[in-house]
């Protein structure tokens, strides 16, 4: 890390945003040489992760990092300020980018996809936007890069170019752009009109605002304007986005894009409204129950889906609302649980998507009903799937346990038993739609003539993909046993102030 001490701390933020863009340009230049192109992507991803690690280190040492680009309007600039919540999200996204790139190399080649250069290019641009969202210092910056993220992922969703991809892309862009322009922009501008500032500040910026009904409206506008959080009824884009190649679904639609949504909601809750003030806003409860309803309804829908990616998509919709619920419960512990869920759900869900993609590449199977007995052929993949599934359900010894634990405690602390009940029912639903898949894969009845199992039967996906899904499933385990670094980071968030401790 000594190398990095020559770089000014505030410069690191610029680097985190610019490095993926440079990588994107380089990989276009290397477009005709797939091996070189993929090396560039991997190197960029690795470099980005080290930068984020240094930023994390600085955050623990309380080094202030902020930078301003240009003033878009008098008094309003594109500003980046590092704070712990953003660092957490950046860590998750940049680490999983490395793994996903590895996975994508296997997947894209195994699947013989066209336009791979465009794919990796847009991917890098999307990551750059995510980094900018992570470190955005005010709502305007957040909004600008939120829109860029939507636009840069659109070509990824429609990558296949088929009729279905077009239709999915239209829903994707339609819902995300419309909600952000009609609601989020209005919310941002309303905040600007009411408070005269858009900066994210510890404790929020609306403390002096008397007009509670206006704040109530703003909160609803924020919740629905941040369409990437997929609160019902604006969740349709997420299942629609599943027409994208699996690496996209894995990183973007299980991690980067959707987490950018819930991250924005958390950020608004903590830094714009402030956790204390949020409690007094009348619509906070309304949105809380809508979030809870989303958890249950989309879990129920997930059960009816035979297409594995669609099932996972609805599962994601449901899990995202955990975080929304956590943010709106307006207690420090719940908010901490929500923040932790960003990380734990990310590793769990990306594992599941990796597995879904691996099955598609190796055996060309998309539907759950065709996967019985698959454990014989793809034992590693299906084991990883089981691990990811248990983490999503929230059972020990997987990472998901912790976030669900804190969310539950937060709900109890807020005296909202109904939320506790919701979370528990949701866990049961998760068991119902996720666990049968690995169980049937391993324990489905074999034809009586079947030979005893041997390694010769195994037909896994290409090696890079298998490595990727092994790493993330190991991550699910690791985060159960060693969650302390993340917990420490979350404890630094103003408003949470060390509310959770004594883990691990």
């Amino acid at each position: 890390m000594n190398l990095w001490q020559f770089v000014e701390p505030s410069m690191l933020v610029n680097l985190a945003i610019v490095v993926p863009v440079i990588g994107a340009l380089l990989l276009i230049a290397a477009g005709n040489y797939p091996n070189l192109r993929e090396s560039v992507t991997l190197a960029t991803a690795a470099l980005l992760f080290t930068i984020v690690l240094v930023i994390t280190d600085n955050t623990f040492n309380a080094v202030a990092m902020e930078t301003t680009w240009v003033a878009l309007f008098p008094g309003l600039s594109l500003t980046f300020v590092v704070e712990p919540l953003g660092v957490l999200f950046a860590l998750v996204a940049s680490f999983l980018w490395i793994i996903t790139t590895l996975y994508a190399i296997g997947y894209m080649r195994g699947h013989k996809e066209d336009n791979q250069t465009r794919f990796f290019f847009c991917f890098a641009i999307a990551i750059s936007s995510v980094m900018a969202i992570c470190f955005s210092g005010n709502l305007l910056t957040l909004f600008v890069f939120y829109e860029l993220l939507t636009l840069s992922t659109y070509p990824l969703v429609t990558h296949a170019g088929t009729e279905a991809a077009k239709k999915g892309g239209r829903t994707y862009l339609g819902i995300l752009l419309s909600t952000s322009i009609a609601f989020l922009l209005l919310a941002v501008m309303g905040t600007w009109a009411v408070t005269g500032t858009l900066d994210f500040q510890p404790g929020g910026i609306v403390a002096d605002t008397e007009n509670k009904s206006l704040l109530a409206v703003l909160l609803v506008l924020f919740c629905y304007g941040i369409g990437k959080a997929a609160i019902m009824p604006f969740h349709r884009w997420l299942p629609a986005a599943m027409v994208a190649p699996t690496p996209v679904s894995a990183l973007l639609h299980a991690v980067a894009v959707v987490k950018a949504g819930v991250f924005s909601i958390l950020k608004v809750a903590i830094y714009i409204f402030g956790i204390d003030r949020l409690k007094e806003i009348p619509t906070a409860d309304v949105m809380l129950y809508i979030g809870a309803a989303t958890v249950l309804i989309s879990s129920s829908i997930a059960m009816t889906k035979d297409n594995l990616k669609a099932r996972l998509a609805y599962s994601t919709v449901s899990q995202l609302s955990y975080i929304v619920v956590g943010a709106l419960l307006a207690t420090p512990i719940a908010a901490a649980g929500a923040a932790l869920h960003i990380a734990t759900h990310a590793v769990g869900k990306i594992t599941l998507f990796f597995c879904a993609g691996a099955i598609m590449v190796a055996k060309h199977k998309k539907n759950v009903s065709e996967m019985a007995g698959l454990g014989r052929v793809m034992p590693i993949t299906m084991t990883a799937f089981a691990i990811g599934a248990i983490s999503i359900i929230g059972l020990p010894p997987m990472a998901g346990t912790w976030s669900k634990w804190f969310l539950t405690i937060g709900a109890l602390e807020a005296d909202k038993l109904i939320i506790v009940v919701t979370l528990m029912i949701s866990s049961l639903l998760n068991i119902a739609y996720l666990l049968p898949i690995p169980i049937k894969a391993f324990f489905a009845k074999q034809a009586p003539s079947a030979e005893p199992w041997s390694w010769a039967e195994v037909q896994e996906a290409p090696l890079p993909s298998v490595i990727a899904l092994t790493v993330t499933s190991a991550g699910c385990l690791a985060l159960f046993f060693f969650p302390q670094p993340l917990v420490d980071l979350i404890n630094l968030i103003p408003g949470i102030n060390g509310a959770i401790n004594g883990v691990g």
Binding site: V70, L72, V144, L151, L177, I181
Partner: protein
Amino acid sequence: MLEQHLPALAILLPLIAAPIVFILGRSTVVWLLATFTGAWASIVAFQLLLTTLAEGAIHYSLGGWSAPWGIELTVDALNAFVLLAVTGVSTMVLVYSKESIAKEIDKAKHGFYYTAYLLAMAGLSGILITGDAFNLFVFLEISSLATYTLVSLASDRRCLTAAFRYLIMGTIGATFILIGVGLLYMKTGTLNMLDLAERIAAFDRSRTINTGLAFIVVGVSIKLALFPLHRWLPPAYTYAPSAVSSFLASTATKVAVYVLIRFIFTIFGPDYVFYDMGMDMVFMFLAIVAIFKCSYMAAVQNNVKTILAFSSVAQVGYMVLGISLVTTTGLMAGLIHIFNHALMKSALFMAVGAVFYRVGSVEVHAFKGMGKQMPFTMAAFTIAGLSIIGVPLTAGFVSKWYLVSAALQQNLWVIAVLILLGSLLAIVYIGRIVEAAYFHDVPEGRDASKLKEAPLLMLIPMWVMVLANLYFGIDTSLTTEAVGHASEWLFQSTELLEVAQ
């Protein structure tokens, strides 16, 4: 020495070049001369803007005859700013014209084209910087006659009926303005704008002045295609040569909006127009209807030029809406949008012209597969389209931001919501074209190998406009400063007048 004559130069350059061009008549030479003139005029406009921002308004007496006898040219931040947009965009369209009209206009008529173009430019510049109400009418007629000619030059015969329709409506508009100015003259005995302002303020609610206002507002509204007086515009833009559509869409209606602002704020005074006569409600209502009705119309058309034409009418709605909010920020929003819309619409029409150049059609289905065949053109179209939608980091976002801010300042949340909903419709009409370009293959029967990228002389001006869209979406210091000055000054001048009374 030339320095002090800059205001006159802005008009004279194109005015003198026009007959020379007519005499020379040779296509390439003429193109060079016209472009050079345009570029020079833009530099003059830029200098004027810098001077006015630094030193305040410039008053210039034509021929040394001082007002009220002579004609006075008055340059302030407002018209210098619009002049910069008009001359700058016109010059880029001139560069673009060479290849474009080679395809769309008979070779024999190229001389006419450049002559009429320069005359239109001279007329528009004249409207912008004159300080005399009657003189404004004269320049209006010069530019209008020239634009009727321009529209009728296309090789598609339907342009003739479109031009005729435009001519009839345009003449009615001009006549109304003339009647209005005549009424004002009858009552006040002066044509100089500043004198007019003073004397009108003295006649409180005179019926003659009310009538004059009515004639002028209706006349100008025809010229700027305010809903429901916009019916002449879509056919004119559709059937005119692409270069002409690009020129008209980004200059003619914008100048008309300027005229509206000038009459309301400088001559009649906002208090009289908005509070006494209640015009703000009229404008606001018509603007909102324009935004929705015409965005909807744009969404259901099949001819891309018609789509853009209806979109222009909708965008004029945004400008008028800004004006109707009667605040400094609202006026700023309207003015910024004049500038920004010129940038985006010219780029869009240039891209459409480039597609016509290769495909020979501007129907939506002609755009199918163009994303692969003409990547630079379609990328330009997409970015300019995003600017129309108002995506951040494009010029369109800046306009929208100010407009919504202005509405929220007045606590008009409903208007703010309507503005944002209106921009959703833009997603539909731009999205259809972009989708055709990127998600369809070239239709059968069309030889894909012949559909290559547009010539460089079309691409360069197109991309200059696109980059300008991005630049003014990120660095807003020039636009906001100029516009801030202009609108503050417009409001202040009326207040000063009141104080003087």
